[in-house]
Symmetry: D2
């Protein structure tokens, strides 16, 4: 699949995501954004949670449903830093569109801008409402949870997206 | 949409659903089953969390993105009883298929059988694996959280499904 | 600490546990019950998620803050079956008391009854209200997620509690 | 209770908070921080989720276990902005200490610094490890989810803490 500057994925808000205030609980926006990162990599043929070697995240054509792969993984991605601004509340049954835009790429980490939005229809006109905006710094760690170099194929993906 | 004996909906397992044991945390299966009940009703044109009157759950053609509707609701569904058997672990990245089958319908409650399954491909053959099975009793409550009669359109839906 | 027929532990309901219906989301009761099982074993000096050998769950006097122990664990407990009845809603800020009572013990599994309750003060009189009741079957699995014999010290604990 | 510059509260990590990476899932740190804010206000006799009037969050001496209070609330606090840096992973069974320090106070919002820490004992010496640090901007909204002035007693609390 060709790389793109923006990647978007939809998620439905279910009652499990809401709180007694009637809106999506503030921590759950982070889940929607993480799911989008997973789908972004899956769209490129990369399952970034299953790793087969030192330098490359696993190509999904080699994917097995095997618990041992997870345990043998020699690296993972973790969120190092995150800033989020909540603009409008999301409520139950909303269909949210979550977006990724690459911002920068270093040796062992990269930064993404992410947006959570919703299309509202008011008087027959569709208006895109911003629910939340965020900047997320992701770092690559080895099997012992220490920093390590980004896998080649993921660095290539991020840098291609930066060029758009 | 015609009523059916079985209703199925797919859900992806994301890392948020898993725990340090490497599998989907046991309470999260209940979320997948609740989402499926929501989609089952949505497929019938019913958004059961937004209610406009005493006897009918709201038809989605009248749906507005309005916080007040939620607050004015004169009833809701709650789980009264649930039994679940966990057969096989679900792991990250699984695509789970969750199913509903109506079992019985009373004046103020109804019972559904639900299954969580996954299609595994082993040596090129697709095999459906059962992750979990459950029986769920749903009760209808009024605005003061006291039992009340099922809405007519939902009782009709459940009873039609029972006839299949 | 002496074994007891009943073990209780308190948990506060925070907004994260509630949903747009204003009550604790039905799946979250399972979390409170799991936390209580963890505290029950901790009270006996057993941290059941860190295992050092084939036959015994780790004594907390040997506990280290070491990620590798988790990975080297040769067994874990999982919920095999669970039945829960929801009697009264729990709401935000409730202080819930969750209880364990041992029911039976087999070679590779055991059954616990659990209750979630709340003390309400009405006209100066304290009344214990039952929020939910459950029966939980826990099975012991080895490192490959296949059934295995209960650790000796945990079987001893459950059987002592049964004798009370 | 006298106001203090720093408020701390402990929380245990249970398996529900962890993910398949073996560490606390990144969104769950936000839950620990929100619980601490709730306990900070509770320690001052304020239950900020139940509101009785325009200008004051409810004093807990008037607290009732009544669902209607929640619905009649004329305001709430929401997170408007949050920045978090993840320094070290938290793992299952950790006892985390979460802290609040007031940073600034405006007419309709205030900023808190929060830290999540853990005391590790290495060679008999206790060392406080920083798990995560955050800055959280909380805004006050009215019953229609629009911005409104901070309640008097909460502004007083934040400003007293700032003076320390």
């Amino acid at each position: 699949m060709p790389h793109r500057k923006f990647f978007s994925y939809p998620f439905r808000v279910y009652i499990e995501d809401t709180d007694a205030g009637g809106i999506v609980y503030h921590a759950n926006h982070l889940k929607y954004m993480e799911r989008t990162r997973t789908e972004w990599l899956r769209a490129q043929g990369i399952d970034h949670y299953l790793f087969s070697g030192e330098n490359n995240a696993l190509d999904t054509s080699q994917l097995t449903n095997d618990q041992e792969s997870l345990l043998k993984s020699s690296f993972s991605f973790v969120v190092h830093q995150l800033q989020i601004t909540y603009h409008q509340p999301a409520i139950m049954d909303d269909l949210l569109i979550v977006t990724i835009e690459a911002v920068s790429c270093g040796a062992a980490s990269f930064v993404l801008k992410q947006r959570i939005e919703r299309d509202d229809t008011i008087n027959g006109v569709v208006k895109r409402v911003i629910i939340a905006t965020a900047a997320v710094t992701l770092a690559c760690l080895n099997g012992k949870l220490k920093p390590r170099r980004l896998p080649d194929n993921i660095r290539d993906l991020v840098q291609l997206a930066l060029q758009d």
